[in-house]
């Protein structure tokens, strides 16, 4: 059904910059009309947007990013600058192989490169996006992807 829906990632410049910025904001998702989406992200309070609601919230949000940073800097120190650059180029290329944003992509190439195909962790068991009951807004997600938002 979806082979003809696979498009190249033609993101605008702004969305590309968001890849490497650590997530520090704790704000909830904005739903329709700019109001907080209670159905999808629960009740909100100003406190929860300023302070983490769990001791591990910030650490877990940035975990993958920090691991990558650590691995790349170790690689740079051992093998020279070319090693992390080559790897990051491969990651960027593999990340572009995906379906439209509101559909489930397998990320097979990216997983193989990162080694996620040989490990199972909580993201694979709990809260599997493939099993989620809701789908994102197709039009808005595609517009963001193309950098029109």
């Amino acid at each position: 059904i979806c082979d003809f829906l696979c498009i190249k990632n033609t993101r605008g410049l702004r969305s590309q910059l968001k890849d490497s910025v650590p997530v520090t904001g704790l704000g909830t998702q904005i739903g329709a009309y700019g109001v907080q989406d209670t159905l999808r992200s629960g009740f909100s309070s100003v406190k929860n947007e300023l302070l983490p609601s769990h001791a591990l919230e910030l650490s877990e949000k940035n975990f993958q990013l920090n691991q990558d940073k650590m691995n790349f800097s170790t690689l740079r120190n051992i093998q020279g600058l070319h090693a992390p650059l080559k790897l990051q180029m491969e990651y960027r290329a593999a990340r572009q192989i995906q379906r439209l944003p509101f559909l489930q992509s397998s990320h097979l190439a990216l997983d193989t490169l990162k080694g996620n195909d040989e490990s199972i962790s909580f993201e694979d068991i709990l809260n599997d996006p493939a099993q989620s009951e809701m789908m994102g807004e197709p039009h808005i997600m595609v517009e963001y992807k193309l950098g029109l938002m």
Partner: protein, 279 residues
Amino acid sequence: ELAHSYVSDKFFLLLISYFCTFRNAVLEFECNKLGHSIPAARKTGTTICGVVFKDGIVLGADTRATEGMIVADKNCSKIHYISPNIYCCGAGTAADTEMTTQIISSNLELHSLSTGRLPRVATANRMLKQMLFRYQGHIGAALVLGGVDCNGPHLYSIYPHGSTDKLPYVTMGSGSLAAMAVFEDRYEQNMEEEDAKRLVRDAIAAGIFNDLGSGSNIDLCVITKGKVDYLRPHDMANKKGVRTGDYKYKRGTTGVLAKAVTKLDLEVVEETVQTMDTS
């Protein structure tokens, strides 16, 4: 700002999952403010121990799971399978030990398929400690990991915050002090299998009889090169008593004076067939 909510692919998925899960922490806090506390997690309040003997490892555990002051499970299994040559006893929160050992078991299986070799105990130890440290002790799993690999028998104890110790004999859980007392008294290097089994059995029994959080039976797991003996139960230290008397009256105690049988004539009035919606 709409862009804030729809961050690119991977972060989007991560954000979805984390926004839903940290909601639980928020809800719990709100509940506690109103005076209702979330039900206590089922802890295993345990005695687990392990010992290295001449040819391998003996792991032992009791079988009681408690929920606060009540025994939740009289015969739960605390010795978890990690790989054919590695087993792990778990103390602390029952769900945490169960899920942690299952995840590590899966990862170790994938790893051993990738390397083509039997997994080593040090690998399992490192995977466990890295995961427990990542979650900073919020995963309440205290483990005794033991197994026999190409380098011989190894025994590790792993604490919930991620520190590990490699020792010839270890105990964990609420009954660990009682069990350690037995070990300190009678442990020797290069014991025979029967002596090691008796020592572990006595250590677990000390935990069972002197600690309220441990009880019921004693499970043993003997791991040697190429063979695993999972003895469950090895020893039923706390057998439930058998009732000696019976308060039920036997048939014929009361004499029957008269008997009258009335037949109820039921006739079929209406018969309908309702098909199940199996689509």
